[in-house]
């Protein structure tokens, strides 16, 4: 490309590094806010904390247009198939952030009606601890995801590498229904 003074500059890099640079700085989140974590997520997006500084402000409520699923809050058993459907409908590349104790592990709701962590139904890249996590923690989670994309550590990138190497990995498959009735403790 021509500089202002007429010199010609150029840059050499790998194509996938450039693609990852673009992807990690333009994450389009799908906000799946089901409880109080959703409020903290909104605070993170608002002007005080301004997630737009990291290129992740374009909220898309259609899974077809989003590439970062931000699960903020409790996912009850009835919601599990809905969440899995949303994840399946997202076009690749797709990344998942599990925000808060409930989404990550079920939190305090250790009962029959609550999913004990969304990683039982879909692959998760970043877990943000907290009940709810404060906006700084959410920003840290988004920055961590950007770092992971840079280093090729996300589940999507691992899946791509595995497919290139001709190896199928289990997390790409849809898990079948699990029934643990009768298990005590």
């Amino acid at each position: 490309m021509n500089n202002k003074d007429g010199r010609i500059d150029f840059l050499t890099t790998r194509l996938d590094a450039v693609v990852d640079l673009a992807r990690r700085n333009a994450l389009w989140p799908l906000p799946f806010g089901t409880s109080c974590c959703g409020i903290e997520m909104m605070a993170t997006l608002a002007s005080d904390y301004d997630l737009a500084r990291f290129g992740a402000e374009a909220m898309r409520f259609s899974p077809r247009q989003a590439d970062m699923l931000l699960v903020a809050g409790i996912v009850v058993a009835k919601m599990a198939p809905v969440l899995r459907n949303i994840y399946d409908q997202m076009g690749e590349p797709k990344y998942v952030i599990s925000m808060g104790a409930c989404a990550s592990s079920g939190g305090i709701f250790n009962v029959y009606s609550v999913t004990q962590g969304i990683d039982t139904i879909l692959p998760v890249d970043v877990y943000i601890p907290g009940c709810p996590p404060n906006p700084e923690a959410v920003m840290h989670g988004v920055l961590r995801l950007q770092e992971m994309i840079k280093n090729g550590e996300t589940n999507f990138q691992k899946r791509q590498r595995a497919l290139k190497g001709g190896v199928e990995i289990a997390s790409a498959e849809r898990p079948s229904g699990r029934s643990t009735t009768g298990r005590q403790g």
């Binding site: 058993a77 009835k78 599990a80 198939p81 809905v82 899995r84 459907n85 250790n110 009962v111 029959y112 009606s113 609550v114 999913t115 004990q116 039982t120 139904i121 879909l122 849809r174 898990p175 079948s176 229904g177 699990r178 029934s179 643990t180 009735t181 009768g182 298990r183 005590q184 403790g185």
Partner: protein, 189 residues
């Protein structure tokens, strides 16, 4: 009518205001449905806030119908329909009908004791709103309601095994289904 009249609670001078009316109502019920009433309890002798009428399943619908429309009763509003599991006692379940009279601002409670496998007559003919409440009791406790037109789960997944609010249901009996429920074609009509 004074709209500020308090509903029966354990506070205030509720006892003097309602005591005569309650005993009169219970006497009337006992005289009319002697065979179907097991026992009756009135506060403060019994640990409750409103009178409780224990009835037999076969007389339930006629008693509820009587209490809904009879002058002097007029319990027109089925405030709640739920159940209690007394496992391992026998009989195991109590189905509870909390009634409220919008006209008189009085409350009363009707209970039916049933065992595992027995069914309770459906109250839909008395209150159509009992439909979903009975479905919830079936979903959570597995108590069947005879004469219910559409007794299937209302809250839990259709593929769920067991009834989660039973005392013998495992504490961490998770059943997570990642695939959606299939909608039955006949429900779409």
């Amino acid at each position: 009518m004074d709209v500020r009249t308090p509903i029966p609670t354990n506070g205030g001078d509720w006892q003097g205001r309602f005591k005569d009316g309650w005993s009169e109502q219970l006497a009337q019920l006992k005289a009319r449905f002697a065979a179907d009433i097991v026992e009756t309890h009135v506060p403060p002798e019994y640990a409750t806030d409103v009178p409780i009428v224990f009835v037999r399943p076969q007389g339930l619908v006629s008693i509820l119908k009587f209490m809904r429309s009879e002058p002097g009763f007029e319990y027109g509003f089925l405030a709640d329909l739920t159940a209690v599991d007394h496992h391992p006692d026998e009989p195991r379940f109590e189905v509870v009908y909390n009634l409220y009279s919008l006209a008189r601002k009085w409350r009363i409670r009707v209970k039916v004791r049933v065992n595992e496998g027995e069914s309770v007559p459906s109250a839909i003919t008395v209150w159509p709103g009992a439909n979903w409440a009975e479905r919830e009791v079936w979903d959570m406790f597995g108590i069947k309601f005879a004469g219910h037109p559409d007794l299937r789960r209302i809250l839990m997944d259709e593929r769920w095994e067991g009834h989660p609010l039973r005392k013998d249901y495992p504490l961490r009996g998770y059943q997570i289904y990642p695939t959606p429920e299939q909608v039955k074609p006949e429900l779409l009509e």
